[in-house]
């Protein structure tokens, strides 16, 4: 269990680099990192389902210019890992599997927002590196440029790694306890909500593509 938590957080840290700091080949999208985590923890299909649900919900989230949107990657990683690790601890059966997944989804959603706050803090901190180089480069210390780039990349990784480590550990500890407190009516409702989530995702995708502003170019 502990090894699995560490592996998942490590992958989470690496994937969160792809959001903006390095590469941007889009392995950070939920549709890729859901199945990837699933593959590592031994259940590809569940990972695929969660990845698709989250991808559809966040399909319209784009970073225009300097704006930083809520982070879908960290939510996908923590949500998939938590579902995989804790589902085996609970006697769920087919009836309540959906409701449990809804609980995890609902509780991990705000993590994206929190992670973005941390991200903004870090980017403000990055301005210090600029001032540092403003001082160092006129002195002739040109090697500092590469060092600063790699150090900042490492900080990005550390942020994703630690954040998912804390979130996953807390989730593994609290989620099963929380779930066993929920009354039967709520569970039925959650199960129903789980079946309707594709409608939510598809409607958001519909809105994303409906808003095209361009006439067909001649």
């Amino acid at each position: 269990m502990i090894v699995e938590i560490f592996v998942a957080s490590f992958i989470g840290g690496l994937l969160s680099l792809d959001v903006s700091a390095w590469g941007q080949i889009m392995v950070c999208r939920p549709i890729v990192c859901g199945p990837l985590i699933g593959l590592l923890l031994g259940d590809l299909k569940t990972g695929l389902i969660i990845g698709v649900l989250l991808e559809l919900i966040w399909i319209n989230v784009i970073s225009v210019g300097a704006a930083i949107p809520p982070d879908a990657t960290i939510v996908a990683v923590t949500c998939t890992t938590l579902i995989m690790l804790t589902e085996r601890m609970l006697p769920l059966g087919n009836n309540f599997q959906g409701s449990y997944r809804m609980v995890v989804l609902a509780l991990t959603m705000p993590l994206g927002e929190i992670f973005t706050r941390i991200d903004i803090k870090q980017r403000k901190l990055n301005a210090h590196f600029v001032h540092y180089l403003d001082r160092e480069i006129p002195k002739g210390n040109l090697k500092a440029l590469g060092k600063v780039n790699y150090f900042s990349l490492f900080l990005f990784f550390l942020k994703g790694f630690l954040f998912s480590l804390i979130a996953i550990s807390a989730g593994v500890y609290f989620l099963p306890k929380l779930f066993s407190c929920l009354p039967y009516g709520v569970l039925t409702g959650l199960n129903f909500a789980y079946r309707l989530i594709p409608a939510l995702g598809l409607a958001i995708a519909f809105n994303t593509f409906r808003g095209f502003r361009y006439r067909f170019p001649d």
């Binding site: 999208r29 299909k45 990055n126 989530i197």
Partner: protein
């Protein structure tokens, strides 16, 4: 490229880091090299994929300046500012606004429709990565070459990229795919009342989302409604 992205001068350090090998080669004397580094510490921001075009152009201009051409440092700075902004706008609407949602939707639709019948549904993420990165790497590699080759005339090439047509058609096909998926999902072995709930929820989200209610809030709304509903019925 964006690892030292900061709110003050945005991508300046990433840009300088990519350009550094070129500058090192062009200015062997330490004094000139320091001067050139200092010039590129200025503000810079664009779309990360199109930054390569700028790298190509600036490398060419620096080369001409180092060889004693007529290029002035202010000119390079102006090129970076103006073209960075323009490419930023195009890149945001092409990659973030159209191509990524479209390719992601294709993968999602494949999974939703085929998950139960087809063993190879796990291929969908790979299809997404392949489709997306095809255009991505094409832009990056072509960008740096053409930027170096044609300098600022590279803008003409954008017309040949038909990026407006790509945006337009990916939006249209995306819309059709969403509707197709809704129909396919509706024809599953559900009870009539469930189909009705699905459609009602679909259209209410379409409406609510237009008023800029975020998807997370809509998710909580769904949970709330269905829990209350479960107690009533």
């Amino acid at each position: 490229m964006q690892s030292v992205w900061n709110f003050e001068r945005m991508q300046n350090l990433g840009f300088l880091y990519i350009l550094a090998p070129v500058l090192n080669k062009l200015y062997p004397e330490k004094e000139k090299r320091i001067q050139s580094y200092k010039r590129h510490l200025e503000f810079f921001n664009t779309h990360p994929y199109f930054a390569n075009v700028l790298v190509g152009i600036v490398a060419r201009l620096e080369e001409e300046m180092a060889k004693g051409g007529e290029v002035k440092p202010e000119e390079i700075s102006t090129v970076k500012m103006s073209m960075g902004g323009a490419f930023g706008g195009i890149g945001d609407s092409l990659f973030w606004g159209a191509w990524r949602p479209f390719t992601a939707l294709v993968a999602c639709v494949l999974v939703i429709i085929y998950l139960k019948k087809w063993e190879g549904a796990w291929l969908a993420p790979l299809i997404f990565l392949f489709l997306y990165n095809f255009l991505h790497f094409h832009t990056r590699i072509k960008g740096v070459m053409k930027g170096y080759e044609k300098k600022t005339k590279v803008v003409r090439l954008l017309e040949k990229m038909h990026y407006l047509r790509t945006i337009w058609s990916s939006h249209l096909i995306g819309l059709a795919l969403v509707l197709l998926t809704v129909v396919v999902v509706l024809f599953r072995d559900w009870r009539a009342i469930e189909r009705l709930y699905f459609l009602a929820f679909f259209f209410s989200v379409v409406l609510l989302n237009r008023w800029r209610i975020s998807s997370a809030k809509l998710l909580y709304l769904l949970i709330g409604i269905s829990c209350v509903g479960a107690y009533i019925f």
